[in-house]
Subunit: 311 residues, 2 copies
């Protein structure tokens, strides 16, 4: 079998289309932290919110580290630091799991790694990581997209065998721009119209153009979901796991309350990325890890706060 066969063509035609997913949603029947109900919910909806997976103390620590990292990067003008459109405010800092410090340890924490391993049915590595900050009053919306569509076309990820893990550091309300997800959308693949411009990532991290699903497909997916669009609301310390192909987006944040989170993409080591299906040159390492993709060896659950206390 051709290792590079394109199971999910997109941006290859002037017309959009919807196809059935060709990969399992849950890749193992093995044991893990999630119970049957949780697995069923993930399978059905394409996401799972684990409430308060981290304690208030741990959230405090993560928030301090996030603020420190943001501050350290405020004056940096490099590709892995993303600013708000039309302002100098930092929106994301990438590759934080390679900081040889706090976030590297967090990325290995067994509380999240074991869940990723259970869902993906293998050992895992981090394909992308970042911290996100959505300021109050002026946080901009992010339009609907499937992450997998981009990872497939632009990074050469062959299979839907990755899971995003968002550690929520601020209470997420209905009114401060929480992530919205179309439940069940992960079971379908929206092949998007158009082509990928060169160096698309330079603008797509602020506002995606190529790989944008069409209105008809979005309506169809939402109808399939019985008109439901779910919001990832919950208290700080909760963790949202969502499938690589789940259609998601978010509104702007008009409220005074900023939102921040730590974001890891776990990919199966059996699904390492290859040549981009677009035929273009690979995106930079900070967006899609190729050089540093050894399987994670999980560290004990209590290592976060423990480590901090020793230092």
């Amino acid at each position: 079998m051709d290792m590079n066969i394109d199971l999910y063509p997109s941006r290859v035609s002037s017309a959009a289309s919807i196809k059935e997913r060709k990969d399992p949603i849950i890749h193992s029947n093995g044991e893990g932290p999630l119970n049957q109900l949780e697995l069923q919910s993930y399978e059905e909806n394409g996401y799972l919110m684990k409430e308060k997976l981290f304690t208030d103390e741990e959230v405090k620590l993560m928030t301090e580290e996030l603020e420190k990292t943001m501050k350290d990067n405020q004056s940096k003008d490099t590709a892995d630091v993303i600013k708000e459109p039309g302002s100098n405010e930092i929106r994301s800092v990438f590759e934080i799991h390679k900081d040889s410090g706090f976030f590297e340890m967090l990325a290995k924490n067994e509380r999240i790694v074991k869940i990723a391993e259970q869902l993906l049915g293998s050992q895992v590595y981090i394909n992308q990581s970042r911290i996100n900050f959505k300021p109050g009053f002026k946080g901009k919306e992010f339009y609907w997209h499937s992450d997998f569509e981009t990872w497939h076309v632009e990074d050469g990820m062959q299979h839907m065998r990755a899971v995003s893990c968002s550690i929520i550091l601020t209470d997420n309300y209905e009114f401060n721009g929480p992530l919205m997800l179309i439940p069940g959308s992960h079971k379908w693949y929206v092949s998007c119209a158009g082509a990928t411009p060169d160096d698309n990532f330079k603008s797509s991290l602020q506002k995606q153009e190529a790989g944008t699903p069409d209105n008809e497909s979005l309506s169809w997916l939402t109808e399939k979901a019985g008109g439901r669009i779910d919001r990832a609301t919950g208290p700080a310390g909760s963790v949202l796991f969502f499938e690589s192909n789940t259609m998601h987006g978010s509104n702007g944040n008009l409220s005074p309350y900023p939102r921040s989170n730590v974001f890891f993409v776990f990919n199966s080591i059996k699904n390492k990325i290859g040549k981009p299906y677009s035929g273009q040159k690979p995106r930079p390492e900070f967006l899609a890890n190729r050089d540093n993709n050894k399987a994670i060896e999980a560290v004990p659950s209590n290592s976060l706060v423990g480590k901090q206390e020793v230092n």
Copy 2:
């Protein structure tokens, strides 16, 4: 007493400030359709949602009339027809209560007029009316503002003695950009920084600049509300009454589901508008009725559907 005394100066300084409201919230102790609990809720929160005040049959009729009016105005390029920023899609059509037809009758319907009279403690007239359409996928956000601030500065409305009435024609969900309100904000007046440009209304109806409250005031109001920001969600046929000075805004609409409503601003006949406090020339009649402001004589509740059946 100087009839034109400025109780609520705004856009007169380079700094914003918050002052206490100088007018009652409910202007009568008289009888009316609202019970004590509803009056208390309006007094406390600055708004009241009456669920399903209109039947499904009436909503269907209103929607047909709205679509007809939208269509009739699609190709019009006049000031009272407002398009989406960056597109040709109609967002609002103004002065619909002067259509000598359906919407004129609707504006007089006793189901809404009697509530307005009860809240304002007098007979009322319509100071502004419009139909609003917020398309799916691309409906834009509208930032926080107090309507009264604009009506005061730009239209010369002296007192807070007006109420907005929004008849919701589509189900309002958390995810299709419902109106957001800061409960209790109507008890405070945010004097905004800056000045009013000439002919401000030509751009402010798409995106408000002058009269935009500052972040500090918005944070203060939200803290005062215990961190609450309410959303006007509910089924089609519901009617939102909100006080002229209640701080409100709305997110974009990323969902496939458009939102539409019919919007009337009832003002007390004892609060007719005068000379703009900005010292500038008055805004056009379609935004602030000066010529045609006789007290409304309410028509019976059942006149909507009844009238239609006869024709």
